[in-house]
């Protein structure tokens, strides 16, 4: 239960009620969504239309939740009193909002889509579709979530670029630098394309992917980079100056000059002290001297020297030696001094060296080229990815100098912007916010409200800019300043837990915010939860001698807690998916049900694997592994011995299955199983093209008995996911069979019973809470992106964003200072992020938190084959990059080390294959439908028609239509000059696509036919006006044999003998001899049609019916009495 007013209620009140723009830092468990909802409702009570407020979230779930809360609050506001259990403040604000909306006559409850609460992606999408031209999109966007294959295709195309242009040269050099490892380069470029909304605007001018970088542009970019690099170096030196203190630095010059004089040529770099004898300047131009200071004061290992020798220029008895020792001791006393000098050592040159620049330029060119190719790929497939949508959204908002006025464009005036999870904002998203609020000023009635927790910023790999939070706090957005409000109440975790987290992370995380590094200072929370939990158990830290021992302990713990607290929600949070495997095996061993959320690759599931093999087999007859797998899958279940017989008889497995001689060499049962399979595949191949790929595969899978081989409905749900992906792949262009499996690799199973223990990644757990949280495998490290093509580092500077880049040095070349420098920055950033990740994990717990690590591993389960060294099985120091390394220096002593399992005699979880599983002999799935389908196709007769298209036929068809149409309106009583209509005919025929060379002849043919008809007695008889039931183009319908029959009688009348005629014009033509035979064939061809017509005609009246075919182009006539073939 919470007390009535939280300790941070003042901050909350300000956050909700201030008119000004606000940035709220809301730590874990502080009720962020409630705050957002309250602010939203408060604003709703002040605007003239709900559309004036835009609330942006990162996930659809968050948007949905917020929208539901607002709607629920508005609904509750209709009640006279705040309903019990409802937040009173929220209710009060909702009443205000409801009143306001009522005054405006707006009923958002009937039209909730007026509440603009959406994800940033969907807002971008909306912008781009509303402004297709300025956004550069063109049409409606078809966004795909998984675009890896597009990136790879674009990368392939870029690397295949040849020619004499700048791009070609850049490609050539990039390949050479990359050791011609094409595949690896494709992977690297593809990897970068996903995040191009971050670097493309910087590389290729504003947002234009297709633009080549010309020499002038490149020079400008280099100038910027040089400036930024110098600035960064200067900042590094300034930081060093601050860390070392002005006093100590002031005493340095004479000492260093002395050393320089003494060492002369031995350390030529010291000569700089002679050339520039004054005090050190914290300025890039003085970098050389700074470096000498660092080298002089630091040992190789990076410690401050306690002694100075001849090597440093201070031999024993030299007068400056003691001063140096004192100075070093003075530095030692200053926190961070050694680190600062280390950082100085690592600083790159303040200007790009030509070779560094050339590499950056080349890679930049290749990336820009790849981005342009990607646009082309998207254009061809009529799809885009989210990065393209994000770039388009930005373009839609216009260039900085001339921002698009949304109000003008879309009749859309924005007054308030709310942003959730602000710590996860990427550069591109930040830019979007900046553009949306351009020109907003304090007090002008417009406001921005950002809420988030930088301590929970864990999406660096998705380009989240943790610095943005600090920047926003310090400098605001554009001209808009934000008031910073910090919440501290935690409504989730027990006081003991909160205290532990406070004590621990206070020491782990930085003390102060640092925008440059992206370092976020820890801020403690206060638990608002009444202590009903077992304080002694709140936190436990345990170390084990092996992963197996650790897994066993996790399982034991959970087993006991489930007995004590069956109602508890328990989670096991891992850093990387691979870390969950041992735990899962241990839980299984104890029969503890668990639910692994997005942990297990879908392809690990047998039912999925069998299906993927089937797909591979179906799309490539020569895919031997897949075919063998299909034979071994449960629906067939051939044992190893029989597989061998088949495999040895030919290179194409399918051929062997079709070969009776081979089947005879199998056991009778094996042969029968094969025959069943063969029949299914023969059927499948016959209908392969009749339906979509997905349906074809599904039909084959059903015929084999695929669903019957699944173990439960969950398995079928997984299969559905595979089919959905297959559909996507089919639409994008099916990859080569050799590649296919890879395209299912990013699908994960989500299985398990409700109420089971949940296993998920820490990232996935963000925003969730559990009664008990176990974080095992703290010792394991997450694999870093080993190699990157281009590293970028962005930072704030006045006037514009600062940014530098460094390209990977050539494979095998020595290290490159600039690249290493950026790598260090990146490593520093990820080390900081690891701290925050651990914070997120720890703050998910309500009652108990258990942090486990294997501290005495025999071998590294993450190592590549053979990577393990011959290290002895001692307790290891935590590996750099592991979460344990984050914790160890602070609470390492609190870990209880369990000695059990050190000898490795615990069962190491190992997977082995099980028995062969198969459907019983003679089994076949029940047919999907009984009997034969009701209506079979009637395509046989159509199929014989040939050829599909020919010019002569097309022209004749048009002439026919023309004559047909003329006959319908021809009146014998009126003079008709067919020849005079020649030009008219020619034009009509031309308009209707008769090629110019055929025009004359075609028009003459029409004229000749019409003249002839008028001259032909039969023609005149047909056209003559009768008095009874005289119709031209008479459309009638009726039922015949259970189906509607429709007919259009070209000509129909009752003649003087009382006979009802039904006549059809046929514009066929026949040249040469055999006219009679031709006409007979025509009669036979059209007889069924005319018989049907006659059937209808008989119902029109009692008159006898006769039918006729008239061939105006040949003036031929055939008539007969229907029903008498």
């Amino acid at each position: 239960m919470s007390r009535s007013l939280p300790r941070d209620s003042e901050a909350r009140t300000h956050a909700v009620h201030d008119d000004a723009s606000v940035l709220v830092q809301a730590p874990a468990g502080s009720g962020k969504t409630t705050l957002l909802t309250q602010r939203y409702l408060r604003l709703l009570a002040s605007v003239d239309a709900p559309e004036r407020i835009l609330a942006l979230t990162f996930t659809r779930r968050a948007a949905e939740e917020m929208r539901q809360r607002v709607i629920a609050a508005l609904a509750a506001a209709a009640l006279a009193e705040c309903p019990p259990g409802f937040n009173a403040e929220t209710w009060r604000l909702a009443v205000g909002a409801r009143e306001r909306l009522g005054t405006l006559g707006i009923d958002v409850q009937r039209q909730p889509s007026r509440l603009r609460i959406e994800t940033i992606d969907s807002f971008n999408f909306w912008l781009a579709s509303q402004l297709p031209i300025v956004s550069g999109v063109g049409g409606r966007l078809n966004v795909v979530g998984v675009a890896r294959s597009f990136y790879e295709e674009a990368a392939r195309r870029a690397l295949a670029h040849e020619g004499t242009d700048l791009f070609a040269a850049a490609v050539e050099r990039t390949l050479a630098v990359g050791d011609q490892r094409w595949r690896q380069l494709v992977g690297l470029i593809a990897g970068m394309l996903a995040g191009r909304d971050r670097w493309l605007p910087l590389l290729a001018g504003r947002l234009e992917a297709a633009a080549a970088l010309d020499a002038a542009q490149l020079d400008r970019v280099r100038e910027h980079f040089d400036e930024d690099l110098a600035l960064l170096v200067t900042r590094g030196l300034q930081a060093a100056r601050d860390a070392l203190g002005g006093e100590g630095l002031a005493s340095l010059p004479p000492l260093m000059r002395a050393a320089a004089r003494r060492l002369g040529a031995e350390r030529p770099e010291l000569a700089a002290w002679l050339a520039r004898p004054g005090a050190l300047a914290a300025d890039a131009t003085d970098l050389e001297r700074w470096r000498t200071v660092a080298d002089t004061f630091l040992t190789k290992g990076g410690q401050l020297r306690k002694r100075f020798t001849r090597t440093e220029g201070f031999p024993p008895q030299c007068p400056e030696r003691d001063a140096m020792i004192d100075l070093s001791a003075q530095f030692e006393r200053r926190p961070g001094a050694a680190a600062a000098l280390q950082a100085v050592r690592a600083l790159p040159e303040p200007r790009y060296r030509d070779e560094d620049w050339i590499r950056v330029r080349d890679v930049a060119q290749v990336l820009v080229l790849a981005a342009a190719e990607l646009d082309e790929v998207f254009r061809e497939r009529a799809t885009v990815d989210f990065a393209a949508v994000s770039l388009a959204g930005l373009r839609a908002l216009g260039a900085e100098g001339s921002p698009t006025d949304l109000a003008l464009r879309l009749d859309y005036r924005l007054q308030h912007l709310l942003l959730d999870e602000f710590q996860d904002t990427s550069g591109a998203q930040l830019e979007l916010v900046r553009m949306l609020t351009l020109g907003w000023q304090r007090g002008d009635g417009r406001s921005v409200f950002c809420v988030g927790d930088p301590m929970q910023s864990i999406y660096g790999f998705r380009q989240a800019e943790v610095r943005a939070f600090l920047e926003l706090a310090e400098t605001g957005i554009g001209d808009l300043e934000l008031d910073v409000r910090r919440l501290s109440s935690n409504f989730r975790s027990s006081p003991a837990l909160v205290q532990w987290v406070n004590a621990c992370f206070e020491r782990i995380m930085p003390q102060v915010d640092d925008r440059q590094r992206g370092a976020i200072a820890f801020r403690p929370s206060d638990s608002e939860v009444e202590a009903s939990f077992d304080v002694a158990r709140a936190v436990s830290l345990r170390g084990f001698m092996s992963a197996a021992a650790e897994a066993k302990a996790v399982a034991e713990l959970i087993e006991s807690r489930r007995t004590e607290h069956p109602e508890w929600r328990i989670a096991i949070l891992v850093r990387a998916r691979a870390h969950a495997r041992d735990i899962a095996l241990a839980l299984r061993g104890r029969g503890i049900p668990f639910r692994a959320v997005d942990i297990e690759p879908l392809q690990d599931r047998a039912v999925v694997r069998d299906l993927v093999m089937l797909i591979r087999a179906l799309i490539h007859l020569g895919d031997r592994t897949a075919w063998l797998a299909v034979l071994r899958a449960p629906w067939s279940g051939l044992p190893l011995s029989e597989l061998l017989t088949i495999a040895r008889s030919g290179s194409i497995v399918w051929d062997s299955v079709c070969d009776e001689a081979v089947l005879r060499a199998l056991s009778a049962e094996g042969a029968e199983r094969c025959r069943r399979l063969r029949k299914i595949f023969e059927d499948a191949f016959r209908v392969q093209t009749h339906t979509s790929l997905v349906r074809w595969v599904e039909r084959s899978w059903l015929a084999l008995g695929g669903p019957a081989c699944a173990t439960d409905e969950r398995g079928l749900a997984h299969v559905r996911t595979v089919f959905a992906r297959l559909r996507e792949l089919g639409e994008q262009g099916l990859p080569d069979a050799a590649e296919l499996e890879r395209h299912f690799a990013d699908l994960y199973a989500d299985g398990g019973a409700a109420g089971a223990v949940e296993i998920m990644t820490i990232h996935k757990a963000k925003g969730l809470e559990f009664d008990l949280v176990v974080v095992p495998g703290l010792d394991r490290h997450a694999r870093q992106d080993a190699s990157q093509l281009l590293l970028t580092h962005q930072f704030a500077r006045t006037g514009r964003d600062g940014m530098i880049m460094a390209a990977r040095p050539a494979v095998g070349a020595g290290t490159d200072r600039l690249f290493e420098f950026l790598r260090t920055q990146a490593r520093d950033a990820s080390a900081l992020e690891a701290q925050r990740l651990l914070y997120v994990a720890c703050t998910r717990a309500k009652a108990e938190l258990h942090l486990y690590a294997a501290v005495g591993l025999h071998e590294d389960p993450d190592a590549a084959p053979g990577e393990n060294s011959e290290e002895s099985p001692d307790v290891r120091a935590p590996r750099a990059g592991s979460l344990l390394a984050v914790l160890w220096p602070t609470v390492g002593g609190q870990f209880v080390i369990e000695a059990q399992g050190a000898s490795g005699n615990l069962d190491t979880p190992a997977l082995r294959g099980g028995p062969l599983r198969r459907v019983p002999a003679g089994w076949a799935p029940p047919p999907v439908a009984d009997g034969q389908p009701a209506v079979m196709l009637r395509a046989a007769d159509l199929r014989e028609e040939a050829p599909i298209f020919d010019w002569v036929g097309e022209t004749a068809r048009r002439v026919g239509s023309l004559v047909h149409a003329e006959l319908q309106s021809m009146d014998l009583e009126i003079h008709y000059d067919a020849a005079a209509r020649g030009p008219h005919f020619a034009r009509w025929l031309a308009l209707n696509g008769v090629p110019r060379e055929h025009l004359r002849e075609a028009s003459e043919r029409a004229i000749a036919a019409l003249i002839a008809v008028r001259a032909d007695p039969r023609g005149r008889w047909i056209l003559e006006q009768r008095h009874r039931d005289d119709f031209r183009e008479h459309a009638v319908s009726g039922y015949w044999r259970g189906e509607v029959m429709r007919a259009v009688f070209d000509r129909s009348f009752i003649d003087e003998h009382g006979v009802r005629w039904v006549i059809d014009y046929k514009t066929s033509r026949h040249a040469g001899s055999g006219l009679e035979e031709f006409l007979e064939r025509e009669v036979e061809r059209y007889r069924p049609q005319l018989e049907r017509y006659a059937e209808l005609a008989r119902r029109l009246g009692p008159e006898p019916v006769r039918v006729g075919l008239y061939f105006p182009l040949m003036r031929a006539w055939r008539e007969w009495e229907p029903g008498q073939s």
Binding site: R156, R624, S651, R695, A710, L716, G752
Partner: protein, 893 residues
């Protein structure tokens, strides 16, 4: 809205019988109304009746115009759909920003839509031009360009017909009637009111007052579809004359899933491997792009292959296309040829080269004749007969000849739907042929691109008629009365629909001229009105919405009357056919299967690769060697990893053959030009040999030569730091190692003799190299195997790691400094290499024996599976699949 109390259908029939053309807002309603009339006639027992003329207004206008043209051929021609689209595209691309757009065709459609809207709503173009926004300015510019082109061509577009409907001469003999509908646009409505008199009011369902309304909240989009299908299926089974109208506003997105769900319940035959039945009791409005149908897709794939270079997968797919092989045997021949090609093909080449290469490989490898290859070659020949730029009508003839020779050659196997799609394709070609004036002359690639666009933009659906269940993709009043009506996706975010103005036109103008989607209030009014109409249209009405596939809950639209019965929540329904099969699944047999027959006398090992695989996992050893389960190769640009390895081996063999040992190396290093010449020669010979098998092209050969020369330089530098040695043996011949009575043929890279007579064995590795020979189950027993063959005086074995990232020796050595900077190793505690060799001999023997005896258990070392491609074949169980118990396999005797 109030509907006519008189039965609306009678009025409709009356009008039709009177020979009136009944005008409706779209083709969907036209079909439904026509069908309703016919059914009514049938019910009343009429034998014959005038075929009702029910037309969508736009189509009718166009037909009327075309008919009038017969009388007056001087009137401007009305553009076909394709021509219109292409002209708009041209207009867009001619603009400054046109080619920078991600999707110019999309912009063209948007502009076309905007122009139609202008005519439909009577928005003055001048007002749009005066708007001042960038979008409207661009639209105005494009519009002007489009109109100018139309004038130039003497054509009009369909939108213009609508705008000038008043002015157009009426065909006197034709009398019209029209139906009341909220879908009419203002201009059409005005015209209809003027010429068509009072509208025919919609039909009301019988038990309107008591109409039960239900709401269904489904747990997933699939479950929603399954619920609809089950509803329709059950009703239809109870009452065959049941008719339903289903509204699925997001139909375009869910079409495939909808078909799956409906087929499963209503036409399960479609899931059997039978020829599909043509008829179904349901139909879905609209169609899918013609380009998606097999004959058309195959034709387009063929054309795409003729333009420029194509990558191997594209050629492979073409060669193995089902359209090109008549039987499974022919398909298998094509697959065989494809397999051969994979190890010899460049990454990409023009089709002509692919064909030549395929023919050469077919004959060199003595493969079965490949019928698909012949057909493909014939098609290619026809397609390249014409070169240069020509009007489309000329390209058409060439295309057809190509299709006939290639993918359409076997068209007697087409299904009815495929045939119909080809028929539609034929019609489309006819339409294209009419557009010569409009399209001008085009190069082959441009003509292909145009055709592709046309086929993608033309929707097609096999003929269906109007079956009892009709699925519409539009929010509209179905006008007729139905037994059941279901409106899907009625969640609060989508119903009433959010504002969605027409792009390119100023929103302000849209609101002013009555574009419903442009305003919040108008959307709400429209939704309320439509919902009222729905309730009147059916005796039973169901509204539904679904939680997202990811499980986000959806809230029902607030417009749905609160009083509705919430209905039973349908359980998550997987595919009913799948479930049915799962429910009657047999008990699965389980039997141990870890032993294959012992290795046969006629079988061959794969040398060290066999032992390597066996060591990592017995199943893998068995599958890779005895089942020959190998991954499909895939040609890459340049040399692949294996080839790069071979190149290094080959070059070094040449080099050392010349250098002879450390002395020769020292001499050569002293004369850099000489060494460079030697290296270049070695590299050249190696590349020549490799390229004879698979040539990646000149550029890659050059790149590789440069790379290789550098790499070898690095390596020789490292070798030069060693003490004295003579190369005693170079990888020339294969040798045979015999273990457990099996022969393993091996090729040892190199053995060096040191001055004291001791020997060192070296194996080159161009990828990662580590001490992977250690342990009871080594990842790679290669060095032990080699060492055992040449154990005499052997004091060290090593991998020579040669790659650009770094050159090094990774060794097992009983002395220090045999390799630069390397100390003696622990030798697994054995004390000497000779002793270690004894251990190795035992291991290798055991491995070989295990393999020989046929042991094929799935028992991987902890890391083996990470680099294995056999997961699908070995069926190693999942860690987390709780539904399958982890069983210990019973060992067979």
């Amino acid at each position: 809205m109030k509907s006519d109390p008189a039965p609306g259908l009678d009025r409709l029939i009356e009008a039709a019988d009177a020979g009136r053309t009944v005008l409706v807002p779209n083709t969907e309603l036209a079909a439904a109304l026509g069908d309703a009339i016919e059914r009514s006639h049938r019910r009343s027992g009429r034998e014959v009746w005038p075929t009702p003329r029910i037309r969508d207004f736009g189509g009718w206008l166009k037909d009327r115009y075309t008919r009038a043209q017969l009388a007056d051929s001087t009137a401007a021609r009305c553009l076909s759909d394709i021509e219109e689209r292409e002209l708009w595209r041209e207009a867009v691309l001619a603009g400054e920003s046109g080619d920078r757009l991600l999707e110019p065709s999309g912009a063209a459609s948007a502009a076309r839509r905007a122009r139609r809207a202008i005519q439909e709503y009577g928005i003055p173009m001048a007002a749009v031009a005066a708007d001042g926004g960038e979008e409207s300015a661009m639209f105005t510019e494009w519009s002007g360009r489009f109109a100018a082109r139309c004038r130039e061509l003497g054509c009009v577009d369909a939108a213009q017909l609508l705008g000038s409907a008043d002015a157009a001469p009426r065909v006197e003999t034709e009398r019209v009637a029209w139906i009341e509908s909220p879908l009419w646009r203002p201009v059409a409505r005005r015209w209809l009111e003027h010429y068509g008199g009072a509208p025919l009011m919609p039909v009301r369902a019988a038990h309107r007052a008591e109409a039960p309304v239900r709401f269904v909240g489904a747990q997933s989009p699939d479950a929603e579809l399954a619920a609809i299908a089950r509803w329709a299926g059950t009703r239809l089974a109870e009452r065959p004359e049941f008719r339903a109208w289903i509204c699925m506003p997001d139909l375009a997105r869910r079409r495939n899933e909808l078909e799956d769900a409906f087929d499963a319940v209503l036409v399960p035959h479609r899931f059997a491997l039978l020829e599909a039945p043509a008829g179904a009791p349901y139909a879905i409005a609209g169609g899918t792009p013609l380009a998606d149908y097999a004959p058309v897709r195959a034709a387009l794939d063929l054309l795409a292959a003729v333009d420029g270079s194509i990558p191997f997968p594209q050629f492979s797919a073409l060669l193995r296309a089902p359209e090109l092989s008549e039987s499974a045997a022919e398909a298998s021949a094509a697959a065989c040829l494809d397999l051969e090609l994979r190890s010899r093909a460049p990454a990409e080449a023009p089709l002509s080269q692919w064909l030549a290469l395929a023919e050469a490989v077919e004959s060199n490898a003595e493969l079965r004749p490949t019928a698909a290859l012949r057909r493909l070659a014939a098609a290619w020949k026809s397609l390249v007969e014409l070169t240069g730029s020509h009007p489309l009508s000329r390209w058409l003839a060439v295309w057809i000849a190509g299709f006939e020779a290639g993918p359409w050659n076997l068209r007697r196997r087409w299904s009815s739907t495929e045939y119909q799609s080809a028929e539609r394709f034929r019609e489309l070609l006819g339409t294209l042929a009419q557009g010569d004036a409009c399209f001008g002359t085009r190069s082959r690639a441009a003509a292909h691109a145009l055709l592709r666009r046309a086929l993608l933009d033309t929707p097609f659906q096999a003929q269906t008629g109007v079956p009892p269940i009709w699925v519409s993709g539009q929010w509209m009043d179905p006008w007729l009365a139905y037994d059941g009506l279901w409106v899907a996706s009625c969640d609060e975010a989508h119903w009433p629909a959010p504002v969605d103005p027409i792009p390119l036109l100023p929103v302000r103008l849209q609101r002013q001229y009555g574009v419903i989607a442009a305003g919040m209030e108008s959307q709400l009014r429209f939704a309320e009105d439509l919902q009222g109409r729905w309730l009147e249209r059916a005796s039973g009405c169901v509204f539904s919405c679904a939680d997202s596939a990811e499980g986000r809950p959806a809230a029902p639209s607030p417009l749905i009357p609160v009083t509705v019965d919430a209905g039973a929540q349908p359980a998550v329904l997987s595919h009913p056919l799948w479930l049915a099969q799962l429910e009657c699944a047999p008990a699965i047999d389980r039997r141990p299967d870890e032993w294959a027959p012992p290795f046969g006398a006629d079988e061959r090992t794969r040398g060290v690769a066999t032992l390597k695989a066996q060591s990592r996992c017995a199943f893998r050893g068995y599958a890779e060697t005895r089942l020959r389960a190998q991954p499909l190769e895939q040609p890459v640009p340049g040399f692949n990893e294996r080839e790069r390895g071979e190149l290094v081996h080959e070059s070094l063999q040449h080099l050392w053959a010349g250098l002879g040992g450390s002395a020769g190396l020292a001499q050569a290093l002293a004369r850099p030009e000489e060494l460079a010449r030697l290296t270049a020669d070695a590299v050249h010979r190696a590349i020549l040999k490799q390229a004879a098998r698979r040539d990646p092209g000149r550029r890659w050969r050059e790149r590789e030569a440069e790379r290789l020369a550098k790499l070898l330089g690095k390596w020789l530098e490292l070798e030069s730091a060693r003490g004295e040695f003579d190369v005693e043996r170079l990888e020339a011949d294969t040798e045979t190692a015999r273990h457990a009575q099996l022969d393993f043929s091996v090729r040892i890279d190199r053995i060096d003799r040191l001055p004291d007579g001791s020997r060192v064995l070296i194996d080159y590795k161009t990828g990662a190299a580590n001490r992977d020979w250690q342990g009871e189950r080594p990842d790679n027993p290669q060095l032990p195997l080699y060492a055992l063959l040449h154990s005499a005086s052997l004091i060290a074995v090593a991998y020579g790691k040669i790659n650009a990232a770094g050159c090094a020796f990774v060794s097992e050595s009983e002395r220090s400094q045999i390799f630069p900077g390397k100390r003696a190793t622990r030798m697994e505690g054995m004390g000497s290499l000779a002793a270690l060799l004894d251990v190795w001999a035992g291991r290798i023997e055991r491995l070989a024996e295990e393999f020989r005896s046929g042991r094929a258990a799935v028992d991987p070392t902890p890391t083996a599976c990470r680099t294995c491609h056999l997961h699908g074949l070995c069926r190693i169980p999942s860690t987390m699949d709780l539904s399958e118990a982890l069983e210990e396999p019973a060992e067979e005797p």
